[in-house]
């Protein structure tokens, strides 16, 4: 696929019916869903890298396979978002973004290195996604194809987040002091990056009238929800095992 993400063929047959939606919002909606298409599709590489790292650190093959399944789900989320772009009159096509290098965390023991990334990906990013996409879904009118599509994505995000917390629950009690300290050193870094990354994708603007019907949410409200998710879910969740 080279330097582009071309999902036109896959997206066209599954584009939801958006007849009756406010046409005045279509340009904003197309741009928004295109950005989501890019973010979702590109993020399959994150889970593939996590799976590779888990393999190298001798994690159970079942866990690795789950991670690879998540990568596949992110690809299909890209297709779903591309389907919305198509339904809005656009083309499910974009330049492929340049991703940062996946960190190996050589300064940490292998198992802690994996957990660092797992915490950032699943316990932080995907947990925030559960809250934000969940709120968007709650605000969206039901009984239509766009709602069904968002529900499918939301369900997968729940699975991705739960995976992280579950693996952490299983492994945290057996961490060595060196492993635990390596993770604790990383948590402020991960949190700072999470906040910066999320804010970059949550513009400080209100939603347009009827925007919720097309998934156009208030960035201001989403920022509040982001802070609340970090303060009341992520940090308390991590503090069961780590100082942070």
């Amino acid at each position: 696929m080279g330097h582009v993400i071309d999902l036109q063929t896959a997206a066209a047959p599954v584009s939801p019916d958006l007849s009756g939606y406010p046409v005045a919002l279509f340009v904003a909606a197309e741009a928004t869903w295109r950005a989501r298409m890019i973010n979702e599709y590109a993020s399959h590489a994150v889970f593939e890298a996590l799976a590779q790292q888990m393999t190298e650190a001798n994690f159970e093959p079942e866990l690795v396979n789950e991670c690879l399944q998540f990568a596949s789900e992110e690809r299909s989320h890209g297709v779903m978002c591309g389907a919305v772009v198509t339904a809005l009159g656009g083309r499910a096509w974009a330049e492929r973004p340049e991703l940062a290098a996946y960190p190996a965390h050589r300064d940490a023991p292998p198992r802690a290195a994996v957990l660092r990334n797992l915490i950032h990906i699943c316990c932080m990013s995907e947990t925030v996604a559960v809250a934000l996409i969940g709120a968007e879904r709650l605000e969206m009118p039901r009984n239509n194809e766009l709602y069904d599509l968002l529900t499918r994505i939301y369900a997968d995000e729940v699975g991705h987040a739960r995976f992280g917390w579950r693996v952490l629950q299983e492994l945290a009690p057996s961490l060595t002091t060196a492993e635990r300290e390596a993770i604790e050193r990383y948590l402020p870094v991960a949190l700072a990056h999470l906040k910066e990354h999320e804010l970059a994708h949550l513009p400080d603007i209100e939603a347009p009238p009827n925007g919720a019907s097309l998934g156009l949410c208030s960035g201001r409200d989403a920022r509040v929800l982001l802070d609340e998710t970090i303060a009341t879910v992520i940090l308390p969740g991590l503090r069961r095992w780590f100082r942070c």
Partner: protein, 224 residues
């Protein structure tokens, strides 16, 4: 987003984070595969979060749409081949003018089915050129400053060309640059029946897909 929505969204996230601990304490990890099949049921409270994983496993979405018209490439506007007089005192000459007096094309409607909205190349190039020139002409401070967006918004031809460019942008990606520079960036929204408003062109919330985790160097780079 009202407080109730936020509270329910937070509760779903909390169930994801703390549900794992609860299950682990009960020795139920062996059932995680079953849990994975129904994460939404388990994540949410009653009501909104009652969908089953079973119906979300498929990567495809049922398509109930009738695709009539989607594949057509019928131009929806026509170029009026008529030499136009100079435009006011701007010095700009239109290459073509519609019978309505608009530059380049007759009135264009923003259409939802923009895949089929391939404009005539001459109309598109006329509009791109027209808008580019108007951006330059409207610039304040002797042409060195930013464009005067109120002046552009009052220019019906400029706004009409924006609509044509917006329609074309979906089928002709190369016109995105023109769209962004002449229509989006200028805060001019010919497609907004309520009048100019930035809310119709923003990209909204897109925090989807986990980012690549940072390395420890991220702190050393001064971001905190």
């Amino acid at each position: 987003m009202d407080a109730n929505v936020r509270r329910r969204a937070l509760r779903a996230a909390a169930k994801v984070a703390f549900g794992a601990a609860f299950l682990g304490a009960c020795g139920s990890n062996a059932n995680d595969s079953a849990l994975r099949r129904h994460p939404v049921n388990n994540a949410g409270d009653s009501g909104a979060e009652t969908d089953s994983r079973a119906e979300t496993n498929s990567p495809t979405v049922p398509n109930h749409r009738t695709d009539a018209g989607l594949t057509g490439q019928t131009p929806i506007i026509t170029l009026v081949e008529r030499e136009a007089p100079a435009v006011g005192d701007s010095g700009l000459r239109r290459d073509a003018q519609a019978a309505s007096g608009l530059a380049c094309v007759e009135h264009v409607e923003l259409t939802a089915d923009r895949t089929s909205s391939v404009p005539e190349p001459a109309a598109l190039s006329c509009c791109v050129a027209y808008n580019d020139q108007r951006l330059v002409e409207s610039a304040v401070d002797g042409g060195n400053g930013p464009a005067s967006y109120p002046a552009l918004a009052a220019d019906e031809s400029f706004v009409n060309c924006c609509r044509l460019i917006i329609n074309a942008a979906s089928s002709l990606p190369e016109t995105w640059t023109a769209l962004r520079t002449s229509c989006c960036a200028s805060d001019v929204h010919g497609f907004d029946p309520e009048g100019p408003s930035p809310q119709y062109q923003h990209i909204y919330c897109t925090p989807w897909g986990p980012a690549v985790p940072p390395s420890m160097d991220y702190v050393a780079q001064g971001v905190a």
